[in-house]
Symmetry: C2
Subunit: 192 residues, 2 copies
DNA sequence: GTCTATAACGTGATAGAC
DNA sequence: GTCTATCACGTTATAGAC
């Protein structure tokens, strides 16, 4: 196992733990125990916790961009399918017991995040908002989605809803997320 | 200063700190320093942190019920005013720099909350949802608010939106909350 | 190059001072 | 009745072993 592999293994464990514990709740000890080493060993790959946190968010951004590009090339002219793809992101976290979409968790921890993490998570929010804006504009143009006001603002409102629903579902019952999604599609008057 | 006064002073400081730091971020030392005593003194009033956390959420519930009853008796037949009153709750937190509506923060910390806190915060969510459901039903009956589906589900979707918007506003720019509220009223076709 | 022993500090909580 | 000295533990991080 070379250095890059170990680095990636640490990042994978980090991703899993952050969904459950958040950035503040995550510790080097948790990670090292899963790898069978002492906690200090992790510092060799990520000197400070801020380095690990930043690398994690950067990785999330890359993964999102790949997912978005994949769906765009596959369903570029089918906005309803794209919206379904976007709403599937938080669902993928909620389906794992005790976990939640990390974006809301990171926002809740804003006062504990290193500056680089905060900036990166804002960028991810922005990317999501831009993608959703495009989807809504396509849907409106094809008369498949209906809403008042400008698409950018509607996208912001929907993202807020998804983020809030993801947290509420994790802390209450997972079903909440499905109920909210159903309402979202009703509001946009999408026949599914 | 008798015991009840000191207890209340501790709860007031707790309320302020939790909005900024969350439950996990809050420490007895933070509180005791503001009171000019050692951290252990707080344990006399709240033996365990779980006691303090539970008392805090219970207090939030009481305050919400008072606020709701006050608005209900004042604007009982004016659903738009009531909705304005409900959306003012998260705003009151966001307006203070670095703070956020605590419900989202607590949800994000679900895996660190004592059981009693988790249950109480779920109860508060439920109370909010029930109130909003009533408001929406009144609005629909008076043809002041328009939406598809059942009021209960629409209330859940709106609460998710408010909770998510509150967190996004705190971690990004406060203006986000106002943008989302504007979209909410547009969606309900309320002329303001 | 990779990892461990250890430090320095913050945390919640107990025992007991006054 | 009210508060402090102190503990046991978990945290991030450094210095240095191998």
């Amino acid at each position: 196992m070379n250095k890059q592999d170990t680095r990636q293994a640490i990042l994978d464990i980090t991703a899993e733990l952050i969904q459950e514990l958040g950035y503040k709740g995550l510790s080097y000890k948790h990670i090292s125990e899963r790898l069978g080493v002492k906690n200090a060993a992790i510092h060799y790959y990520f000197p400070a916790k801020a380095d690990l946190g930043s690398a994690y968010v950067e990785q999330m951004i890359v993964q999102f961009e790949q997912y978005r590009d994949h769906l765009n090339s596959k369903y570029g002219d089918q906005p309803v399918r794209l919206l379904n793809g976007l709403t599937a992101i938080p669902r993928s976290f909620i389906s794992k017991q005790g976990m939640s979409c990390p974006l809301g968790t990171l926002d809740a921890e804003r006062n504990f995040l290193p500056e680089s993490m905060l900036l990166a998570s804002r960028q991810l929010s922005r990317l999501l908002c831009e993608w959703l804006t495009e989807i809504l504009e396509k849907g409106q143009k094809q008369q498949l989605m209906h809403f008042s006001g400008v698409a950018n603002n509607k996208a912001l409102a929907i993202l807020s809803m998804l983020q809030g629903a993801s947290l509420m579902a994790s802390a209450n019952q997972a079903q909440i997320y499905e109920d909210v999604i159903e309402q979202l599609f009703l509001d946009l008057a999408i026949k599914s």
